[in-house]
């Protein structure tokens, strides 16, 4: 219905029709726009000259715009329950409206009313007819105390003073207590994790870390490594040599008497020493410095290899076997052979 009234910029012949007073417009007119349309307004036909006075109308519109600006700019002030500025504005508007004859001014009046009503609603919501007030600033202060704020000693104690600092986990502390107010469903997580692992990122990180120290450490590294390897090998070699020495010295004393393998390696006082002896002796056998053979009773015997006997390249028939021993067997052998003391004396100083 109101679509019959249209306004376009160059058209001064538009008839305003019968729309006088409120009801025509939906579009809220901004103060800026109005300035442009001021001189374009077409005089609607059928309205008395007095009502059509453009100067007067301009005045009314200007006053409305002032009121609108006043309300918008001083919103906080208007909301203050201590004053009646909002009511004053409405009274002003009422006075102005008495002179309004046409839609354009009425639209401004409507705009002002909308603003004022919003403010009125907000102002009303501030009213607490009963019960204590709630001060968010005080609330904040209490929260800070709860969270364990560490106030600095020389705090002046003024409001809004941001002295002091919150300790670690302050917000967690508040969260833990607040949780009680919530009926949150616990979040779902697979207990054993998922298959979607992400290997690539860790590799990158490791690479970066390695790059940096390498330059500095290059000079130091090789010597250290050498030393380590030496000490490992050394200990074993020394021990092996020592055992060879033992065996050879026994043979030097009595080259006819075969030495039982078991009697040689077993230390009746220590099972672990026994195992070590077996281990070290195996090197001697591997390197062809010592040989193992079965005597007439079928028991293993051990003897050093004569220097002339050994042929490099292994023309000698070699056999391989795996020796195992457990504590029970160890004790059985000790009993069976009546071994009283170790033929291989324990090293005086433990290596490493």
């Amino acid at each position: 219905m109101s679509d019959s009234k249209r306004r376009s910029r160059g058209n001064q012949e538009e008839s305003a029709g019968t729309s006088n007073g409120l009801g025509g417009r939906n579009r809220p007119e901004r103060p800026g726009d109005m300035a442009d349309e001021d001189d374009i307004g077409a005089g609607p036909s059928g309205i008395s000259e007095e009502d059509d006075d453009p100067t007067r109308r301009r005045e009314i519109r200007s006053k409305y715009r002032d009121l609108i600006n006043q309300v918008q700019q001083n919103r906080e002030d208007m909301l203050n329950p201590a004053n009646n500025k909002l009511t004053d504005v409405l009274e002003e508007a009422n006075k102005l409206f008495a002179n309004v004859r046409q839609a354009r001014e009425a639209a401004l009046d409507a705009q002002l009313l909308v603003l004022a009503t919003d403010l009125g609603k907000e102002k009303a919501s501030q009213l607490h007819a009963e019960g204590s007030a709630f001060d968010p600033s005080a609330f904040a202060e209490h929260l800070l105390s709860f969270m364990g704020l560490n106030r600095l000693e020389d705090e002046s104690g003024q409001d809004g003073n941001l002295e002091g600092y919150l300790p670690q986990g302050a917000w967690q502390r508040l969260a833990k207590r607040s949780e009680y107010c919530f009926k949150t469903a616990p979040s779902f997580h697979y207990m054993l994790g998922s298959f979607l692992a992400e290997p690539p990122p860790p590799r990158q990180r490791v690479e970066r870390q390695r790059k940096v120290p390498s330059k500095e450490a290059k000079r130091i590294m090789p010597t250290q490594l050498k030393k380590m390897e030496e000490s490992h090998q050394e200990a074993t070699e020394k021990e092996v040599e020592r055992i060879l020495g033992c065996l050879q010295s026994y043979f030097a004393d009595d080259s006819e008497e075969p030495i039982s393998y078991y009697e040689f390696v077993i230390d009746p006082n220590s099972f672990s020493r026994t195992v070590e002896n077996i281990f070290h002796t195996s090197f001697l056998i591997r390197d062809g410095l010592v040989r193992m053979y079965m005597d007439t009773d079928g028991l293993p015997c051990i003897a050093p290899v004569e220097e002339g006997e050994m042929e490099p390249g292994g023309a000698v028939v070699r056999h391989q076997c795996v020796i195992s021993i457990n504590q029970e067997s160890w004790r059985e052998i000790i009993d069976a052979f009546d071994i009283k003391e170790a033929l291989i004396p324990a090293p005086e100083v433990l290596s490493q």
């Binding site: 800070l144 607040s178 107010c181």
Partner: protein, 222 residues
């Protein structure tokens, strides 16, 4: 038997119930409400005819097995959230995990809104947070982009509503409780904690106490 296989209802109901439960549980991890449309798209698909039956089963399972409630917070758009059926007992820990700091932040905002009658301008929230050393203009140690957490994350999770105030120039926003908060948060418990902080009887805030008690009673009935 051939006909049975071709029928859309041949697919195992219990399997679909299970699938829907998992779907909902995973969606719930981020606390973003679940839309019925999504359930339809990813789980039910062409078996729409039995959607209601599956939904009933799912609700029952959640209720009896997990102690969870699937609540429709938006009947018009069919949006659901999962909440805990069980009330937390004071003195006993709610969960073994360390508290999520965001819960504390959310609590502060919800409290201010509630104590101030249910709607507040955004400035009140920012000013209160600033006093707690949380400045929306700066990156915070724990929360990062605070403004984003409050106006985006909490809003998407439906804990808060962040709405333009009409006719404001420049544009201003106001905060209200979101649909999730209405279902998930106990106003009475919140008021009690506020009372503890102020060392004040919660009943001294008569309007808030009245509203909190009323909400508690009605939610217990549902």
């Amino acid at each position: 038997n051939k006909n049975k296989k071709k029928s859309p209802l041949w697919c195992s109901r219990s399997k679909m119930t299970g699938l829907q439960q998992i779907f909902i549980l995973i969606k719930d991890q981020k606390k973003i409400p679940i839309r019925r449309a999504d359930i339809g798209k990813h789980v039910i698909k062409e078996y729409k005819a039995i959607y209601i039956e599956i939904m009933n089963r799912v609700c029952r399972k959640f209720d009896q097995v997990f102690g969870l409630k699937l609540v429709e917070i938006d009947p018009k758009n069919h949006i659901y959230i999962l909440i805990n059926k069980l009330e937390p007992i004071h003195g006993e820990p709610v969960s073994m995990r360390p508290g999520n700091p965001k819960t504390g932040l959310l609590f502060v905002i919800l409290s201010v809104i509630f104590m101030k009658g249910g709607v507040i301008k955004e400035n009140l929230v920012w000013n209160t947070l600033k006093k707690l050393r949380v400045d929306p203009g700066e990156k915070h140690e724990e929360f990062g982009d605070v403004k984003k957490v409050v106006t985006d994350e909490f809003v998407r999770q439906k804990y808060l509503e962040y709405v333009k105030i009409p006719h404001t120039e420049p544009v201003e926003y106001e905060f209200r409780w979101g649909l999730r908060a209405e279902k998930e948060v106990s106003k009475l418990k919140l008021l009690k904690f506020v009372g503890e902080l102020f060392d004040q009887d919660p009943q001294s805030w008569t309007q808030q106490f009245r509203e909190a008690s009323a909400t508690e009673t009605s939610s217990q009935r549902s």
